[in-house]
């Protein structure tokens, strides 16, 4: 308390400040610190992302059992080397022209989409922005990588997780990663440019840049 008194002495001489102690001042500092930390780490991510349900609760595990060629049965390559991505209704209709099982979701799918010939507005967790050129052929056909490396074990999932969309950037949360601080544990936890670059660097793929001696821009950009 003695230090406080000295402060008071000085300030009493020179200022018209109210008397106050350093203790409460520090308390206020800590209070401010804690509040902002809670806001930044807990509240902010909740506000930043909107949560959206997929139109149909799709069961990857179930489908995976029924098809012959694994993921490529539905997510296939076209002849020109382009990748089809999320299946279109036309593919689903091959099996789901009529209701197959007893699932309510399937019924919804058939009635809402197949019958009305409406494409399902799937929300794509791995959707990259327009400036990105990602070649599935280079990774799957040339490098022989498996889907899990980037997409994780989504093939084993029985339902689709909630799609969290960044309200500002419009990206899926999976691009930045679930962790708001941007840390990742698995190769599939994050899909930012640095994650692509990291793997390319490790495997010495297209390290052609004059500027960075790393990946050339036009390898992944367009």
């Amino acid at each position: 308390m003695s230090t406080n008194e000295k402060v008071n002495e000085v300030s009493a001489e020179t200022t018209e400040q109210d008397d106050s102690a350093a203790g409460p001042i520090i308390l206020f500092f800590i209070f401010g610190l804690v509040v902002s930390l809670v806001i930044g780490w807990v509240v902010f991510p909740k506000i930043l992302y909107s949560r959206k349900q997929q139109p149909v609760a799709f069961n990857h595990a179930l489908h995976n059992e029924l098809v012959d060629e694994g993921c490529e049965s539905c997510h296939f390559f076209r002849e020109d080397g382009s990748y089809s991505g999320v299946p279109k209704l036309a593919q689903c209709i091959d099996c789901h022209e009529e209701i197959q099982g007893e699932s309510a979701e399937e019924q919804k799918f058939v009635e809402e989409y197949v019958a009305k010939e409406r494409e399902v507005p799937w929300l794509v967790y791995s959707r990259q922005p327009d400036c990105v050129f990602f070649s599935h052929a280079a990774h799957v056909k040339l490098a022989g990588m498996d889907c899990v490396t980037c997409h994780g074990p989504i093939g084993e999932s029985e339902s689709l997780k909630v799609y969290e969309e960044n309200r500002i950037s419009g990206y899926s949360r999976d691009i930045w990663g679930k962790n708001i601080a941007g840390f990742k544990r698995n190769t599939w936890d994050r899909m930012k440019m640095d994650d692509c670059a990291e793997c390319h660097r490790k495997n010495n793929v297209n390290q052609n840049s004059v500027q960075t001696h790393k990946g050339g821009c036009f390898v992944c950009h367009r």
Partner: protein, 737 residues
């Protein structure tokens, strides 16, 4: 504990520290940057499966094969079809910008009817019912011949359907828009006795002598000419351009010979003079396969010695002599004519004079020469059965006078129509169909044309776009655009071989449009009787498939059918004249007025300069208006903001005190305009040059209002020999503002 200023400050500092230690500011900064990379108002093209479809471009008469790239259900790009005989992978600016016509804002999206000057949407059935009522009415009054049709072409199934409809309905007034096709047809008919199209084997020639033809400005089949020109150069061939202005063609020629405009025919006769005098002509051909040579010889020897020709044309005698010798001594010399893109027919005598040069060197129906390509003959529909009204109607003289005593050789004389209508009390045409044509823009003397159209009680436009004619029509029955419909493209203009292209729907029609062929069939069916009987097809597509019969599969497979082994008829059988020879001159030709350079309209004292038009590949000047990409590609020395720049020689600019880049007033007997001046060394003194394809009033904000319309400044000049418009310019005055 009091909350004072200091504790609050402390709280704020703590808060700031905590915020900095949380992801909030950093993530927000990043996300905002990402937002700026994905602004929602910047479109993101949808991905999808890529497919390529063969088709044929119908935006000009060039007949290029195209490859349509689709992504999902969108048409993304038009490219030239590799291996196509006409364009082999290349494509012109207009074709490349074709997607902008498909998706552009100037499409007519549904049938429209003009009610009290405003457009009203109308159903197809109602629109057709209205036409049928009008037509039935006229027919019952015995006036079927007052129905006319203006069409961009008279070949292929769609024009033939229109023509057939008019015939069985009882009107002779089917009109094709005029172009150098008319002049070349007449020329071939008069000298060789054949009804044929002119084909030019430019690629295999070794000396092209072009009398103002814009070989690389879009003359005939543009891409074919480009390719042929490159091949000519690769083979070491030469090309000389005779033109008053340094056009792109002139610039890309080996030699540019500046000539007083309108005197090209005289130069041709002068060249003939030297060739004959020096006995450089092809003796074998002239002696064996021609007639009338002596008369022709007399004409050119007496009338066109180099010094006189030099005076007429402004080309010096040495150049004339040297040019004639070079031309005659070349292995495969080819003389061509028809100015610019060839959208104006020109003087028949000029065409004859230039064509006879080819005869002198014997380069007719030869490799590297001019070929008479038979008109397409794949359409063989059953003869129509006409009732009395129709027969009577067809007995009437054509309203444009074509084929009459005054104009015995012309098939169509659309150019005369405005004058005919304007000079009669009531319009001799009561109902006018306009298809694949935009006469209110493309015909000279826009004001007179507008006045004439105003007098026609009922104008029906079949245009896909809101063009000038459609805007002023009473009813628009929008056609699908070429990417949404089937249509045969019966020939590629100027291409030396018969070829049929197939335009086909690569996309479902975007709007409530209908194929004009179907509309005509439907109208015919509604009218009933013999008219309906003449159209036994369920639909246009059925008609087309049936018509093309054995060629259909090839057309669908490849996008075109071509007669690879075709070669023009041998000299011994080629000429179907009375003499069965090439006739330098004959009774018919003799009966025509003698060659006499056609003067530009206007009196010299008031209008000291001469205004001439020029064409550019970057400006569509046919019935299609330039899409945004084309206008974007136009040079800044042609168009600046909304002002067109007219070219004048520095000497002329000096004489009239005109400054480069400054405004000036351009006056002609037909109109006036505010323009900007471009002082240009590449034009003869005394001339003013203005580009065609600008000054649109329709086609939306990307085109309308830009520049000045040449046709608003000029009037037609009737060629006494053919009746066609042969105006190559008009007298003008250019003064400082």
């Amino acid at each position: 504990m009091k909350i004072d200023r200091r504790s609050f400050l402390s709280f704020v500092i703590g808060g700031a520290a905590g915020t900095a230690l949380s992801p909030l500011p950093w993530k927000l900064t990043d996300d905002i940057a990402i937002w700026s990379q994905n602004w929602p108002w910047t479109p993101v093209p949808q991905k999808g499966e890529v497919s390529y479809l063969n088709s044929t471009c119908t935006l000009c008469p060039g007949g290029c094969g195209i490859l349509v790239r689709k992504v999902g259900e969108r048409v993304v790009k038009l490219e030239g079809m590799e291996g196509h005989p006409v364009n082999d992978g290349g494509l012109c600016t207009l074709g490349l910008a074709g997607t902008q016509l498909l998706y552009g804002p100037t499409r007519v999206k549904t049938p429209l009817k003009k009610v009290n000057g405003a457009w009203r949407k109308i159903s197809w059935n109602a629109a057709i019912a209205e036409i049928v009522e009008k037509l039935s009415d006229l027919r019952s009054k015995g006036l079927p011949h007052t129905v006319a049709c203006i069409s961009g072409s008279d070949r292929g199934t769609v024009p033939e359907l229109f023509n057939r409809f008019l015939t069985v309905y009882g009107s002779p007034n089917f009109m094709r828009t005029s172009s150098i096709q008319d002049s070349y047809e007449l020329t071939l008919f008069l000298t060789q006795g054949v009804r044929a199209m002119a084909g030019f084997d430019v690629a295999n020639a070794d000396f092209i002598l072009s009398f103002g033809s814009g070989l690389i400005e879009g003359w005939e089949s543009p891409v074919y000419m480009f390719r042929a020109k490159s091949t000519l150069r690769e083979n070491g061939g030469r090309m000389d351009q005779i033109e008053p202005r340094l056009s792109k063609t002139a610039a890309k020629s080996d030699k540019w010979i500046a000539i007083s405009p309108g005197t090209e025919g005289a130069l041709a006769l002068g060249l003939a003079h030297v060739i004959i005098k020096e006995k450089l002509y092809n003796k074998k051909f002239v002696d064996t396969y021609t007639s009338g040579f002596e008369a022709h010889k007399k004409l050119v020897i007496d009338g066109y010695p180099p010094d006189i020709v030099s005076k007429i044309t402004g080309v010096d005698t040495a150049t004339i002599t040297a040019l004639a010798k070079d031309f005659a001594r070349a292995r495969k010399p080819l003389a061509i004519c028809g100015r610019g893109k060839g959208y104006i027919p020109g003087s028949l005598q000029e065409f004859l004079a230039i064509h006879t040069l080819n005869a002198l060197v014997g380069n007719i129906n030869q490799t590297g020469g001019i070929w008479a390509v038979p008109e397409p003959d794949y359409i063989s529909w059953p003869e129509v059965e006409m009732d009395k009204i129709a027969s009577n109607g067809l007995q009437q003289e054509r309203v444009d006078g074509a084929g009459s005593k005054a104009y015995p050789y012309a098939r169509y004389l659309l150019g005369r129509l405005p004058e005919v209508i304007n000079s009669s009390q009531d319009s001799p045409i009561q109902v006018l169909f306009v298809t694949t044509a935009n006469p209110m823009y493309a015909m000279p003397d826009t004001q007179a044309v507008a006045k004439a159209f105003e007098k026609i009680p009922f104008v029906v436009s079949f245009s896909s776009f809101l063009d000038e004619t459609a805007v002023n029509a009473d009813l628009i029955l929008p056609n699908h655009v070429f990417l949404e419909r089937y249509e045969d493209v019966p020939a590629a203009h100027g291409f030396p071989k018969p070829i049929i292209g197939l335009a086909r729907p690569v996309i479902e029609p975007l709007f409530n449009t209908q194929h004009s062929g179907d509309v005509i069939i439907q109208i015919a069916n509604e009218l009933g009787g013999p008219i309906a009987d003449a159209f036994p097809w369920d639909s246009y597509d059925a008609c087309l498939e049936e018509t093309l019969a054995d060629k259909w599969d090839a057309l669908v497979e490849d996008g075109y059918w071509s007669d690879e082994v075709f070669s023009a008829a041998d000299w011994s059988t080629a000429f179907e004249t009375d003499s069965a020879k090439f006739e330098f001159t004959n009774e018919d030709i003799e009966s025509l007025p003698r060659y006499n350079p056609l003067k530009a309209k206007g009196d010299e004292a008031h209008y000291p300069l001469v205004l001439i038009p020029y064409d550019s590949m970057r400006l569509a000047s046919g019935h299609i208006g330039s899409p945004p990409f084309l206008i974007k590609s136009v040079e800044d020395y042609i168009l600046t903001a909304n002002d067109v720049l007219v070219e004048v020689n520095p000497a002329t600019a000096n004489e009239y005190g005109l400054k480069d880049g400054k405004y000036a007033f351009l006056r002609t007997p037909k109109g006036n305009a505010r323009v900007k001046v471009r002082v240009f060394d590449g034009i003869m003194p005394g001339l003013v040059a203005i580009p065609r394809g600008l000054g649109h009033t329709a086609f939306g904000r990307f085109l309308a209002g830009k520049g000045v319309h040449y046709n608003a400044l000029i009037g037609p000049v009737e060629d006494p020999a053919s009746g066609h418009d042969a105006a190559w310019g008009i007298r003008a005055k250019l003064s400082k503002t």
